[in-house]
């Protein structure tokens, strides 16, 4: 094989600490290399053209590019060599940027290491074979996990684009966190007025199947052909017949059930519909508080239900859905702020979270939109907002910025003044992060027009003083201590990955960061993709996001799905395992260890042999390292290819 080597400067990114010309010169001496050069930006148009020309001029059979990580530009260069008529697998990359030039400044060592990496790449390349993808048909249905605003947007966009959508929501209603909000920043328009119609659209869209109060049990398959097992949790109410009239909730004598929708400000009934605009508007029994389910006595709801749909015997149910793509929009949860002992650790009823406050502000909330202190129901006069509770704080393991608390705190300060004109709001902040359209103007309004007292500093202690809470903190701009007699303290709690995010990630086979947020395919260029083909991300499951960004991502994920489904067939990755039937002795160890069931036993002239189902094989290569005689080889990562790299590096 005649090989061409292109060593990229990447501007000064590589050239500054690697002598690329020397690397190219060394490469010229390698067996098989007939052409080697260094180029300024190999990925640029002239850079790519140079490769195409060299392939033609030198009749190259394979190309090595030494530049950035293959995760960045492998696809780019594969297309380049394809353009010149080479099979795209006759290409190798040597990562001399992320793995060399960026991690040390020793030019001699870096240059030497780059030469090694190029040698490895050429040795492997010489053992590469042209590979050809297989086509397979796909199921053009999409699963959206999570019915918050991002999931709703993704579902509606996909459905409007003509796809069948399965939307799975963990709670009994879609709407997510946004449904709990009173108003939205920076427009201060009513949250349920803008979200409500979209929720209704979901319910009425002919292309959308909604499973509320359901969870993902199992995911099998691969892009184009996933098989999803959905657990429909027992509601004890036959939803087919439930009209959502609410009589059961009215009459239920068990009044102390946890009201999670209202963030547990007050209680709800053991049988309940979370809020009037719920979609679907169906009742559900909370078995923890239902006397009938606990003690076998009561049965009031069954008696009063006009459509007779109460079923105390109901069990969880499982349904299987086949889809071709998955959008994950599982959102976020709130940081458990009670680890902050200095804020009372949960002992003071008048220290509440921002989302609890939001429910209080909401006209459909438990206080009917009146701001009342939980302790005595009085209207507060001084309201203190504390920002960055569980954000930007290493000591509680949350060093990241949640990003939207500054904005909702400004909004809540404004709303406080609207509700209680005689009130005074104080905001303890670290920095104000208001980097959206009209955002900074909005926080300035909170300060200037609504007379909110912004104090730059952290709060060191909250303690009760009479019926008030004394909030003591630092004012770092003044260099003094400040103490505020507060009637109500609202904590701007940060966002964290939703509980169960990591469990779902394992089912989806996508990765997540150390906080549990899902990893996107590329931090800049693949914001809604994951490294698992056919799985996309929308909204805060990837990292904290405000509403506009979540909606944008919902649409972006939908457009990715629509793009994927624009073809009737997908090409399977040819980097799959292949059995050398002559060498296979039919021992079945590969079949035993394949995680995907992609290898089956076949009969070949009366002998048992292994056979790979190419569209199912995911290319992990467990089989290859299991087969003692090496009869099954993962294409593009064969034993010989890896051995050639080892041998290139370790030459005795």
């Amino acid at each position: 094989m005649k090989i061409g080597v292109f060593v990229c400067h990447c501007g000064s990114n590589i050239e500054a600490t690697v002598d690329t010309a020397a690397v190219a010169a060394a490469a010229r001496e390698f067996p098989g290399v007939v052409f080697a050069t260094d180029t300024m930006y190999t990925c640029s148009e002239p850079g790519q053209d140079e490769i195409v020309e060299a392939i033609k001029e030198h009749n190259l059979g394979g190309v090595v590019v030494a530049s950035c990580t293959p995760r960045m530009h492998e696809q780019t260069f594969r297309r380049t060599v394809e353009r010149a008529g080479l099979n795209k697998y006759l290409f190798e990359m040597a990562n001399i940027r992320e793995h060399v030039s960026w991690i040390g400044k020793d030019r001699e060592a870096n240059t030497n290491k780059s030469v090694d990496l190029v040698r490895m790449a050429t040795e492997k390349l010489m053992r590469n074979r042209a590979l050809h993808p297989k086509k397979f048909t796909i199921n053009k249905r999409v699963l959206v996990i999570g019915g918050g605003v991002a999931g709703i947007q993704a579902a509606l966009d996909c459905a409007d684009g003509g796809l069948e959508v399965v939307l799975v929501e963990k709670t009994t209603t879609i709407g997510g966190k946004m449904a709990k909000l009173d108003k939205t920043f920076p427009t201060v328009d009513c949250s349920s007025c803008i979200l409500g119609p979209r929720m209704v659209d979901v319910a009425q869209h002919p292309n959308i199947t909604l499973y509320a109060y359901a969870e993902i049990e199992e995911i099998n398959g691969y892009v184009g052909n996933f098989e999803i097992k959905v657990k429909k949790k027992a509601t004890y109410v036959d939803w087919k017949n439930c009209t959502g009239c609410g009589i059961c909730m009215d009459k239920c004598p068990s009044k102390k059930a946890r009201d999670t929708f209202n963030e547990e400000i007050g209680f709800t009934k053991a049988i309940n519909i979370p809020f009037p605009q719920a979609i679907p508007k169906k009742a559900k029994i909370d078995p923890e508080f239902c006397t009938m389910l606990k003690k076998g006595k009561c049965g009031v709801c069954a008696k009063v239900c006009p459509s007779g749909c109460i079923d105390y015997e109901m069990k969880d149910e499982f349904v299987t859905e086949k889809v071709g793509a998955i959008v994950t929009a599982t959102g976020f949860d709130l940081f458990d702020w009670t680890v902050y002992g200095e804020y009372g650790g949960g002992r003071y009823p008048d220290v509440i979270t921002s989302l609890q406050y939001e429910r209080m502000l909401s006209a459909s909330g438990p206080t009917g939109g009146h701001i009342k202190r939980p302790s005595d129901g009085k209207e507060p006069k001084n309201v203190v907002f504390i920002q960055c509770v569980g954000s930007r704080d290493k000591s509680v393991g949350r060093p990241y910025c949640t990003g939207f608390c500054c904005m909702y705190t400004a909004k809540q300060a404004i709303l406080t003044k609207d509700h209680l004109p005689l009130s005074q709001s104080y905001v303890f902040y670290m920095d104000i992060r208001a980097t959206g359209k009209l955002y900074d103007e909005f926080t300035r309004r909170a300060m200037e027009e609504y007379d909110t007292n912004y104090i730059r500093g952290r709060v060191s202690m909250i303690y009760p003083k009479g019926d008030k809470l004394l909030v003591r903190g630092a004012d770092t701009l003044m260099g003094t201590q400040v103490e505020v007699d507060a009637d109500l303290v609202v904590l701007a709690v940060g966002a964290e990955a939703s509980a169960g995010a990591s469990g779902l990630a394992e089912k989806l086979r996508i990765s997540y960061d150390s906080y549990g947020f899902y990893m996107e395919g590329h931090p800049k260029l693949k914001p809604v993709e994951t490294n698992t083909a056919g799985v996309y991300l929308a909204g805060a499951c990837q990292g904290p996001k405000d509403i506009p960004s979540s909606v944008a991502q919902g649409s972006a994920a939908a457009s990715k799905v629509l793009g994927l489904f624009s073809k009737d067939q997908l090409e399977s990755d040819p980097q799959v395992s292949m059995v050398d039937i002559k060498r296979c002795i039919g021992c079945g160890k590969c079949i035993q260890t394949c995680p995907f069931g992609a290898i089956k036993e076949i009969d070949f002239r009366g002998m048992a042999k292994a056979d790979v189902i190419e569209t199912i094989c995911q290319g992990c290569g467990i089989c290859t390292s299991t087969c003692p005689q090496g009869a099954i080889q993962l294409q593009h990562a064969t034993d010989n290819q890896i051995l050639s790299e080892v041998n290139a590096l370790c030459q005795f």
Binding site: R583, G588, K589, Q629, Q633, D639, L643
Partner: protein
């Protein structure tokens, strides 16, 4: 031996249903036995079992796949049969296992070492405790226990673990003690450079005949062994000690969790390289980490072909 007749009777009874029964018979001189393939009634009388029945006949089973095979097994051999069954390399229905209480087999190397060259062996009497060999008209006497194979001294399974027909009295229900790896422990007292040098020195003798592989009942790849393949190309065919040692590591690793330490590899080695020790090392680690012993339970899965989400006995490095 007293159960020899009983065994012959059982084979006679079973033979009509079988294609072949494998046992041992006399060989070129009275000091050696050889595998014996009984196909006809008249072959049965030649069957001889005793301290010379050294060969692990399970080695032949994968090659006879599809045939109805009877096999006479020592306790250690039966473990190889179990392992082959476990890996579904042979079918249980196809084989009939004849077990007997083994009292140990000799190590020819030890006899050779004790006696040196003695000329043509004329007779050999192996009573309970002693061995009397008459060669070139001269009698040589040895203690049997001095010439028993190492594995017999620490034998934990004298009776076949699995058998269809068992002749003679079982040696007892003794629960096998955990294997002790004394020789291995002694070797591991050597310094690392000494161990490295040891293997180079030993393997230097290797003539790459692959007798170790051919004798191994679990080397089922046969003609497709990675040692001589170009696809994949793990080893060169050159005469160098690196590849010779690498082959032994490949052999040991491919047997990890499968090897029953029957010792055939080492017995077959014409230049007496102690290759079994590498397999014992694998087995010891497998036992310590996975609490697993190969060739005991046909229903088990070899540990390297399975996993647990939480591994109790693996402590990963803390960085």
């Amino acid at each position: 031996m007293k159960f020899q007749k009983e065994l012959k009777d059982s084979i006679r009874k079973a033979l009509p249903e079988l294609d072949v029964v494998i046992g041992w018979c006399g060989s070129f001189d009275p000091l050696h036995a050889t595998p014996h393939f009984i196909r006809r009634e008249e072959d049965i009388e030649k069957l001889e079992i005793g301290p010379l029945s050294v060969h692990n006949l399970a080695t032949y089973l994968p090659g006879l796949r599809g045939k109805k095979v009877g096999i006479v097994v020592k306790g250690c051999d039966s473990r190889s049969v179990i392992e082959l069954l476990q890996e579904k390399l042979i079918a249980r229905d196809d084989i009939t296992i004849f077990g007997f209480p083994c009292t140990g087999v000799v190590d020819q190397a030890k006899i050779k070492k004790a006696l040196g060259y003695v000329g043509n062996v004329e007779s050999c009497d192996m009573s309970d405790k002693s061995v009397v060999i008459v060669a070139a008209g001269k009698a040589h006497s040895l203690e049997l226990s001095d010439v028993l194979a190492d594995k017999c001294h620490s034998c934990r399974y004298p009776d076949a673990i699995i058998s269809d027909i068992f002749v003679g009295d079982k040696s007892g229900e003794a629960v096998p003690a955990p294997a002790d790896y004394e020789a291995l422990a002694t070797f591991e007292n050597l310094s690392l450079p000494d161990r490295f040098g040891f293997w180079l020195k030993e393997l230097d003798r290797c003539i790459r005949c692959y007798a170790c592989r051919s004798a191994c009942p679990l080397c089922v790849c046969r003609d497709h062994c990675a040692a001589e393949s170009r696809e994949p190309h793990w080893l060169s065919q050159e005469n160098n000690v690196r590849d010779k040692l690498m082959f032994q590591v490949i052999h040991a690793y491919h047997l990890a969790g499968r090897c029953t330490e029957c010792g055939e590899c080492q017995r077959a080695c014409p230049v007496d390289i102690p290759v079994l020790m590498l397999k014992q090392k694998m087995n010891k680690e497998i036992r310590d980490i996975f609490k697993y012993e190969a060739g005991v339970d046909p229903e088990e899965t070899p540990p390297l072909l399975s996993f647990k989400m939480e591994e109790e006995n693996i402590t990963e490095k803390d960085w």
